[in-house]
Amino acid sequence: MPELTQNITSEQMMINLFRENFDAIVASEPKAITALREKAIKEVEARGFPDTDTENWRFTNLDPLFHAPYRFDFTNQSRPFDIDKIFTCDVYDLDTFSITLLNGWYVYQNAPLTTLSNGTIIGSLAKAMEVYPELVEKYLGSAADLQQPSLSALNTAFFQDGIFIYVPEGIEVEKPIQIINIIDSSEPLMIHTRHLVIQEAGSKLTLVHCDHSLTHNISLTNSLSETFLEKEASLDFYKIQNKGRNSAVVHNAYFKQKQNSNLNSHALILNGGFTKNMINVELEETEAHAVLNGLYLVDNNQHVDNQLFVDHAAPNCLSEQLYKGVLDDEATAVFSGKIMVRKDAQKTLAYQNNKNILLTDEAKANSQPQLEIYADDVKCSHGATVGQLDPEAMFYLRTRGLCERTARQLLMYAFAGEVVQRIAIDPLRERIDQLVEKRLKGELSICDQCVLHCNSKEPTVFNIDVSKL
């Protein structure tokens, strides 16, 4: 178990670590993937990690995250494991096809790769690289931009496992696929997960991605997902994050959309110590639609940074962004959304909206909604607001006999409702609705999710050795 030392730069630490564990990381993967890793580590060497001088990272400092004695798993930990032993999803009525990642490795009940009767393949990316090398090689790394100031290059160098989903042409996957990403470690843990989702023409899929941590230990998750939507493919994507205060997540999602494809993304951040979510959407062909919704409810000293980039590269596409946040205590939130309309992307419709409510003077909101437009026949607009609850609405509720606390909660609930109402899966929407309500009442903390229900609000370290379970 290699540990990081303090006296060299974070970049150098990681580069050394890569070189030292090269054989374990590469294992028996296809040559093309190894070549991609080599290229990525060179990018890390050349460009380093983004720092607070980097645009879009000005308020999010990565460096301290790297200074912990992290544990790494370089040998394959993907194995059969009954996840019900340590975790139950609390969206009770949600009928899903559920798959699990434990500390970044795919754990399963039957097999690492399952092929459904309709031809859909679901399973471990590490396994998929063995079984379907051609398919993986064709797509993997073709959406991720290694030169972008992010941790994409680092992920590409280090990733070992994650989720692989392939939906064949014309197939509609009826049940939502639920990805449960669990961190459970007695030591600080750094993981690099990688997901690959390929949807062939006309296919339909609903993905629910839940991030949980079971311990209060320090963890850094640097994940990257690449999603390819071929013609007329449609994806409903939900990312629900409810993690411990000591967990840090840097997630970089890339979507590539072909003609008439449809993306509906919902990012719901209910808890999380440090979160940087980057979503990059490339509308490659005409008539593609992308809707990005987001809700973040943060308190204490949580930090959430949502960075969106929608690239209109073809005419007649539509994109919409709606991100809303409620910030309590000393929480900080950053929103930077950029709409790029390329020269030939005429008839583009692009909207962007970011609204924040600050509940305390210590909370901070930074918003950068950006438009970069090179075509003339477009309709683009953006807006950003930071403020507090409308005093008139408060007054109205007070005159109806509501106490101040209830009135505030009601208004915040309504504020968040605009995003929650866009969730299309009924049981999930109801559950999220409840969670938001509880969260705004201050009744929901990370402990609610913990199966141990110890009633302690203090961070506790549980010495559960997962390997012995």
Partner: protein, 483 residues
């Protein structure tokens, strides 16, 4: 062909400076090319400056040497060789031309369209004017009116000699030499500029304009303006001119500092129409300006209004630091880019005091193959209780080769602030165009009309005489962008 010809004429006019004698005694009154500590000392000595000025310049120069040229703006240009610039030339004493006949006919045509009186035309084009010219006598009466009120309005060099205590106290207090690359450069080598001091309780009876200051014509490329408004005073200041300014200097790095004390109000209007380069993007002025005002006292107000139509590259962010409680900052801007022009402009509103308010209205118009960006910061700190901002940034696109961009930064640090930003980007609506056309207005006229309507909100903030000219200027700047 016609275009080439006019380009030739343009080139000729802009380069003619060198041909027709700049100043005869070059050896004596021009600093050697390049920038060293000696250049800075040379400039200071030439201007016979007191010791504190030299120290200020040297500190700025030493700091500048540690800085790197910033690259973050959304503009592209070949990098500047700072050692290939002459940092000091004695002011021109000889006119460029003997009569208007020698002046570029295209320039005269523009003057005609703007309706500039003949004598002004001569002065603007650099033609020799009679000693009894109107504006000179205007300026003299103008000065005596100001002196009666105790208002100081003179060139920066003059102020350094006559009012060193005021300069020492205020210079660099709003834009320190450490502020940015170009501010440091300007602080080290600034040539001249304007100084304006409004005493306590005085309301300046006239619109102050650099145009009326006799020696304002040639302040050189590194201009520095300082405006101090004492408690309860008011001044409206106009910079620039709607007429196209021909200038041989590629790089302009100016600084404008405004200080508004308690209950004071300063209104600063700019019309910038430097040479934008030719239609192919050759030549043109780089306009890298640092403009900032501070609302130092309670209830003070600073308002920036700008109409930007010129320069190959514009890079400026007139800002207001709202320090006093209840202070107000305003920014109204119309930026037009055509052909190959690039503009990255906007504002910064820094809310520090309680109940501070700011309004930002920015209208960008891009045509040709130009790029027009709005970049603005609205920041409220922890103590800026009840701060309020409203920003609206609209972009209009004329043609499918141009770009319009919006980069707002909103940073809010307390719960009682309300900050709103909205922006739209679109082209001229077909319906509006159709309506104008069917009323018999030609295409160019229709676009001019619609653009003026679009920019009206900002133009209405300009002082009267400026506003009329600015409207004409907008139409002229967009000429040839239809088709």
């Amino acid at each position: 062909m016609a275009e080439d010809k006019s380009n030739d004429i343009l080139d000729e006019v802009t380069q003619s400076e060198y041909k027709y004698g700049f100043y005869t005694d070059i050896e004596m009154d021009q600093a050697p090319k390049g920038l060293t500590e000696d250049t800075v000392r040379f400039i200071s000595a030439k201007k016979n400056e007191p010791e504190f000025m030299l120290e200020f310049r040297l500190k700025a120069f030493r700091h500048w040497q540690t800085l790197k040229e910033p690259k973050w703006a959304h503009v592209h240009y070949p990098s500047i060789d700072f050692q290939d610039i002459i940092y000091y030339s004695a002011p021109r004493k000889k006119p460029k031309y003997e009569s208007l006949d020698e002046v570029d006919p295209e320039l005269l045509e523009t003057f005609e369209k703007l309706g500039i009186p003949l004598n002004e035309q001569k002065q603007l084009a650099g033609v020799a004017v009679d000693a009894v010219m109107d504006s000179v006598s205007v300026a003299t009466t103008f000065r005596s009116t100001l002196e009666e009120k105790g208002i100081i309005f003179c060139s920066f060099s003059e102020a350094v000699q006559k009012h060193p205590e005021l300069i020492k106290k205020h210079m660099g207090s709003v834009v320190p030499y450490t502020d940015n690359f170009y501010a440091a450069l300007n602080s080290a080598v600034f040539s001249d500029g304007s100084f304006c001091y409004i005493p306590k309780g005085v309301r300046c009876p006239l619109e102050l304009s650099t145009y009326f200051r006799i020696n304002a014509a040639n302040t050189g490329q590194f201009e520095r303006t300082l405006i101090v408004a004492e408690e309860g005073s008011y001044v409206s200041y106009m910079e620039g001119c709607t007429a196209p300014m021909r200038d041989e200097n590629q790089l302009h790095a100016a600084i404008v500092e405004i200080i508004a004390k308690k209950d004071a109000e300063v209104k600063y209007s700019t019309v910038q129409n430097w040479w934008p380069g030719d239609k192919k993007g050759k030549g043109g002025v780089y306009n890298f300006v640092t403009k900032r005002g501070i609302c130092e006292g309670d209830n003070s107000k600073i308002s920036w209004t700008q109409v930007e139509t010129g320069s190959a590259i514009t890079w400026k962010y007139p800002s207001v630091v709202l320090l006093g409680n209840n202070s107000i900052g305003e920014f109204y801007s119309v930026a037009v880019t055509n052909n190959m022009q690039q503009a990255d402009t906007g504002t910064k509103m820094i809310h520090l005091g309680k109940n501070t308010k700011s309004t930002i209205i920015s209208k960008g118009i891009s045509a040709g193959r130009s790029n027009n960006s709005y970049r603005g910061l609205v920041k409220t700190t922890r103590n800026a209780e009840n701060a309020r901002n409203f920003s609206q940034c609209d972009s209009l696109l004329l043609g499918d080769q141009c770009g319009a961009h919006t980069f707002p930064y909103v940073e809010v640090g307390n719960r009682s602030s309300i900050v709103e930003h909205e922006a739209t980007t679109s082209k001229i609506s077909e319906d509006q165009l159709f309506y104008c056309l069917q009323r018999g207005i030609d295409m160019e006229g229709a676009i001019g009309l619609i653009v003026n309507g679009y920019a009206k909100e900002v133009l209405s903030k300009l002082p009267m005489e400026f506003a009329v000219e600015a409207q004409k200027l907008l139409s002229i700047s967009l000429e040839g962008s239809v088709g």
